[in-house]
C-alpha cells in the first residue's frame, strides 16, 4: 500500500470524524437504526456486488474474510 495515499486517507478520515465527533446517547440513535444506515444489511446483494468485482479486477478485499475461493480469479 502506498504510504502517501494511506496517510492521506488516514488524515482525511480522522479529520472528518473529529469535526463531526459527538457520539450519540441511547435515545439519539433513531437515525442510526434505519436500514439504509446499516453496512451490508442485504447480505446477498453485498455478496453479489463484491464477487462480480472480484472477477473483474486484479484483487479484492476489505469487506470481510472467510469466503473461501472460487475459480473466477
Amino acid at each position: 500500500m502506498r504510504p502517501v495515499a494511506s496517510l492521506a486517507l488516514l488524515l482525511a478520515v480522522a479529520t472528518l470524524a473529529s469535526c463531526a465527533w459527538a457520539p450519540p446517547r441511547p435515545w439519539e440513535k433513531g437515525e442510526l437504526a434505519k436500514p439504509a444506515m446499516q453496512f451490508d444489511a442485504d447480505r446477498l446483494e453485498s455478496r453479489i456486488q463484491e464477487h462480480v468485482y472480484q472477477s473483474k479486477e486484479a484483487a479484492s478485499g476489505g469487506y470481510g474474510v472467510g469466503g473461501g475461493g472460487c475459480g473466477c480469479n
Binding site: 500500500m1 463484491e50 470481510g64 474474510v65
Partner: protein, 360 residues
C-alpha cells in the same frame, strides 16, 4: 473456474448488530449478468441465490445460504484456450453453500462459519471465526476475523491435475457511531496464500506461487433527515503482492419516497496499476521462459466506472422487494494519474438483480 458469484464472508456488523435481532429473515435473489467487448458478447451468468437467518434460544443466530451459477459464453479476448473464438465456449456451473452460527453475549459476540463451493474444475472449502466486542455505550464495535480456505484445481484441459491453493485471511475493523446521524466503519484485511495461482485456460500463464493482499476499506454512512435520505460513501486502498495497487471510491444516495419506496442511485470508480508480470498485447510479447507471465487483462492497468440504480419497496407483514441494475465499463485511459495498459479493448458488463425478502 469461470464462476462469477459470491461466497459468504465474515462481514463486520454495523452498530445496530450489537444485540440479537428480534426477527428472522429469508431472502431470494436472482442475478442476470452479461459482459461484452466491441459488440461481441462474452460471458453470460444466471444465478439464483437464497439466504436465511433465524435467531433462537434468545442468544443465538443461525444463518445459511445457497447459490447456483449457470454460465456460458467466452472469457475476455486474447489467448484463451476456452473461448467462443476457439470453438470451445465456456459452459459451466457452480454450486455453493455456507452456514454460520453466532452466539451473543452482553458485550461481545462470537461466530463460526463454514463454506463450500464446487465447480466442475474447482473445489473450495473454508472455515471462519469472528469476534466482535462493543463498548458499554454501544457506540464503538471492534471486529476481528480469521479464516482459512483450501482449494483444489482440476482444469478440464488437464494441463495440471489436483493442484492446491491455501489461503489465510485476517480482519481487524472498527465501527463507530460518530454522531446521531453518522456512522463510520474501517476494516483492514490481510490475505496470505500459497499454491497454484496460474490460469490453466490461458496460454503461457505463469504466476507466483505466493500472494499477499492488504486492503483497507473505510465506509461512512450519513443520514440527512431534512431530505429523508442517506449518503453512503466508501473508499478502499488495496495492495497486492502481484504488484497491483488499486483505489476504489463509491457513493450512493438512498432516497426515501412515499408508499414504502426507496430509490438508490450510485457511482463507483476503481483505478488500478498492472501486476508486475502482466504484459500488454500483442500476445505473447514479453514472455520469457521460467519467469512469471500473464496477459490476463484483469491484471492490466485501467480505470472503471460503475453507475447503478436500485429501486426497493417495503410491503406490509415484513415483505420487501427490490430491483438493481449496474453498468460497468473498463478503459485503460480511465486510469487515474497516468496511462493505462495500451492495446486492451474496453470491457463492458451489466448485471441486473432482483430480490424478495420476508421477516418472520
Amino acid at each position: 473456474m469461470a464462476a462469477a458469484l459470491a461466497l459468504p464472508g465474515v462481514v463486520p456488523a454495523g452498530a445496530a448488530a450489537q444485540s440479537i435481532p428480534d426477527e428472522g429473515r429469508v431472502e431470494l435473489r436472482y442475478l442476470d449478468y452479461r459482459d461484452w467487448q466491441s459488440g461481441a458478447d462474452r460471458m453470460r451468468v444466471k444465478s439464483p441465490s437464497f439466504h436465511v437467518m433465524k435467531p433462537f434460544a434468545g442468544t443465538w443466530i443461525a444463518e445459511g445460504g445457497l447459490v447456483y451459477d449457470g454460465m456460458s459464453g467466452a472469457s475476455p479476448r486474447f489467448h484463451n484456450t476456452l473461448s467462443g473464438a476457439s470453438g470451445e465456449g465456456v459452459r459451466d456451473y457452480r454450486t455453493a453453500g455456507d452456514v454460520k452460527l453466532t452466539r451473543y453475549f452482553d458485550r461481545y459476540a462470537v461466530g463460526v462459519g463454514a463454506a463450500v463451493s464446487s465447480e466442475r474444475d474447482y473445489l473450495s472449502r473454508a472455515v471462519s471465526v469472528d469476534f466482535r466486542w462493543w463498548t458499554d455505550d454501544r457506540n464503538t464495535t471492534l471486529a476481528f476475523g480469521f479464516a482459512g480456505s483450501s482449494d483444489r484445481i482440476d482444469p478440464v484441459n488437464e494441463v495440471v491435475v489436483g493442484r492446491k491453493r491455501h489461503t489465510l485471511d485476517f480482519l481487524v475493523g472498527v465501527t463507530q457511531a460518530v454522531n446521531a446521524n453518522a456512522i463510520l466503519q474501517s476494516n483492514l484485511t490481510v490475505s496470505r496464500g500459497h499454491g497454484y495461482y496460474d490460469d490453466p485456460y490461458k496460454s503461457l500463464d505463469t504466476r507466483p506461487d505466493h500472494r499477499r493482499v492488504v486492503a483497507w476499506l473505510t465506509r461512512w454512512n450519513q443520514s440527512i433527515p431534512a431530505a429523508d435520505a442517506t449518503l453512503r460513501l466508501a473508499f478502499r486502498v488495496l495492495r497486492d503482492s502481484f504488484g497491483s495497487t488499486s483505489f476504489m471510491t463509491e457513493a450512493q444516495w438512498v432516497q426515501t419516497l412515499p408508499a414504502g419506496f426507496t430509490v438508490t442511485p450510485g457511482l463507483r470508480y476503481l483505478t488500478q496499476s498492472a501486476a508486475d508480470f502482466y504484459r500488454d498485447p500483442p500476445f505473447p510479447t514479453g514472455f520469457r521462459p521460467g519467469e512469471p507471465y500473464s496477459a490476463d487483462t484483469r491484471l492490466s492497468a485501467f480505470g472503471a466506472f460503475t453507475p447503478s440504480l436500485k429501486i426497493a419497496k417495503s410491503f406490509e407483514r415484513g415483505w420487501t422487494a427490490d430491483l438493481r441494475v449496474d453498468f460497468h465499463r473498463q478503459r485503460g485511459s480511465w486510469r487515474l494519474g497516468g496511462d493505462g495498459s495500451p492495446g486492451v479493448e474496453p470491457f463492458s458488463a451489466r448485471w441486473i438483480q432482483g430480490g424478495v425478502s420476508k421477516s418472520f
